[in-house]
Amino acid sequence: MADIVLDKVSKSFPDGTVAVQDVDLEIADGEFVILVGPSGCGKSTTLNMIAGLEDISSGELRIAGQRVNDKAPRDRDIAMVFQSYALYPNMTVRENMAFPLRLAKLDKETIDRKVDEAAKVLELTSLLDRKPANLSGGQRQRVAMGRAIVRQPKAFLMDEPLSNLDAKLRVQMRTVVSRLQKQLGTTTVYVTHDQTEAMTLGDRVVIMRGGAVQQVGPPQELYDHPKNLFVAGFIGSPSMNFLHAAVQDGELHTALGKVPIGDRVRRELESADAPRELILGIRPEHFEDAELVDDDTRRRGMEFEAPVDIVESMGSDKYVYFTVEGEKASAAELEELAADAGAADFAGAGGNLVTRLSAESGVAEGQSRRVWFNLEKIHLFDPANGRNLTLHEGRAAGALAD
């Protein structure tokens, strides 16, 4: 067990492309850290550099306080789990799990004992004599985990280990991974492109974009206090709504009406180089059917009326899609997020607003509905650089803060 420190670690290829840029990250002993981001953001490259499968172009990587830049993977004492599981097809489950121990030249009894222990933890005991070809995806995945844990390495590195499983099994395995990591207390770095996995698994989440770290923090903090437009849009499902907002006479003109702003945001916007156009972000759960809001709550937000497009009833609550008129919010980050979601060419005209209303709401498709939203939960972003203007000392304070 050990801590892992990345000190300005960069990776550039001979053709000049920079895959990872100046990543600073301190992973504490026993911590579960998730690297998440869209494809091509450098998260896997970062993991491979920690594993030693890829050279570090500049910067320093320390495991347990020791510089390991030039050490071969076998000398770093780390175990890795791959998306493809990478089980040795010619070996049985037992041989697969024993492989790292055999290479470490342990005696046969110790190997057998350790493999049996790991197999018991992962419920693989009955499968020990099978070959990987005769296992299901979930079983293979567990064998891959088993091969990683038998050795009690300094750290686990996991490269999208659950991505090849079907949705139901993935949810199940998520808890297995989580429990295992807590049980063993081994430092773990986990790469995924799935923000749900990132939110549910990690102690801390590292959001990457284009080879650079965007924000590091516990999942809830990233959700509540995103540093920039990219983090705000990436975390959360359904994702945050983004609306175009024009600054005019100390108010924000948006598709939802004129939004008042508090002193602190006003001061920010008074400087000469402040943007005249903003992007307003608001999460689906910060909307509510206006009929269901009590007066006390009503004061903290404002209302608008819009035609209901689609209602999706989830039982516990309702996802209601509204069509709102007005200019679309546009920024490089939003385009990238849309492209990653595969929806770049299908955003449609106008704005589709996703809201999450109480199940009691009598909302119906086709009608027009009054909706309340919470001004304290609003985020304002600078479209030029994506910065969250409502963030004060790391906390988001909404548009009204004084």
């Binding site: 594993a51 071969a72 890795m80 990478a86 097809p89 010619n90 492989f99 070809a133 091969r147």
Partner: protein
């Protein structure tokens, strides 16, 4: 938030009963007993589709094989056509008790074993080089394959000139006498020519095997603590085993029938004949159809045994298969 979108068990069951039983459909089809009439018709169609190919095979391979077996059972020398008669296995006794045959057999085996072994090692090296080259990939691969592209007889002649004292640079460099007139050096040169010629072919087959080794597997082995050599022996070789066996089979069968190089380099002098040379000398030059055919049949049997042994090895060689148990 997870939403269970799959229909309930009752729905599925109702769906199942509504479906007509006779028509196998996607999910239900697997559990129903196979329709024997359909299967039969399918099998009949399969046989009909194979028939033309099978007929051609019979005409071009089965007939000559049977005819040569028939010839091998007769005393049949074209110089004495009158003495032709059926003599059973007498030709086989003659050949198998003859020292020339056994010398040639030994030479052939020696050439086969040595060349295939050396080719396997060199070919593997070449394959790894071709597989791993990043720059000038096309050029490296093409230049490595040139020897295989040259006609064997042409290449054999250039080797012969190279080893002929006076005209050849290799003879002048490496020996005082005429290396192609002594048995040991002749055999070495024959094997050298064979290896030079067919290593690229071996490399090509092995490269196909290398492509079968997933990159992740090697990465996993690295993090598991394997050295480069351990990665090669414990991960790459087992995964490549089927490809290696195919390559070995092809090359062994080819090598056992070695003819061109010997024919050009020594013409079988100084006891350097292979069994193919011997059969040719008896059959074509000696016009003894009986003895020649007997040798051909013996070569055929040997090749069949080699093939059989290799194919037996294959059966359990495919990685990831538990014996007899497949999904």
């Amino acid at each position: 938030m997870s939403i269970n979108a799959t229909p309930t068990g009752a729905d599925v069951a109702a769906e199942e009963t509504r479906r007509p039983a006779a028509v196998p459909k996607q999910r239900g089809g697997r559990r129903k007993p196979p329709l024997s009439e359909n299967k039969k018709a399918e099998r009949r169609l399969g046989l009909l589709l194979c028939a033309p190919a099978a007929l051609v095979m019979i005409a071009v391979t089965a007939y000559p094989i049977i005819y040569s077996v028939w010839l091998s059972l007769q005393r049949f020398d074209l110089r004495f056509p009158d003495q032709r008669e059926f003599i059973g296995l007498e030709n086989y006794v003659t050949v198998l008790t003859n020292e020339f045959w056994w010398t040639a057999f030994g030479v052939t085996m020696l050439i086969t074993v040595v060349t295939v072994a050396v080719e396997l090692v060199l070919g593997m090296g070449l394959a790894i080089i071709m597989h791993r080259t990043l720059i000038g990939r096309g050029l490296v691969r093409t230049s490595a394959l040139i020897p295989y592209g040259i006609v064997t007889v042409v290449a054999a002649f250039s080797w012969r000139y190279a080893w002929t004292p006076g005209t050849g640079y290799l003879a002048d460099l490496f020996s005082d006498g005429a290396p192609l007139t002594e048995r040991a050096s002749s055999l070495a040169i024959i094997m050298l020519a064979e290896i030079w010629k067919t290593t690229p072919f071996m490399a090509l087959l092995l490269m196909a095997g290398l492509a079968l080794v997933p990159e992740d597997l090697l990465k996993a082995a690295s993090t598991d603590g394997a050295t480069a050599w351990q990665k090669f022996t414990k991960v790459m070789l087992p995964v490549m085993k089927p490809a290696i066996l195919v390559a070995l089979l092809f090359r062994t069968l080819d090598a056992f029938r070695v003819f061109d190089n010997i024919f050009v380099l020594t013409a079988g002098g100084n006891e350097t004949s292979s069994v193919s040379m011997l059969a040719y000398n008896n059959l074509i030059r000696g016009l003894n159809l009986g003895i020649g055919s007997t040798m051909s049949v013996l070569i055929f049997i040997t090749v069949a045994i080699i093939a059989f042994v290799f194919v037996k090895l294959f059966g359990t060689a495919a990685p990831g298969s538990d014996d007899g148990e497949r999904r």
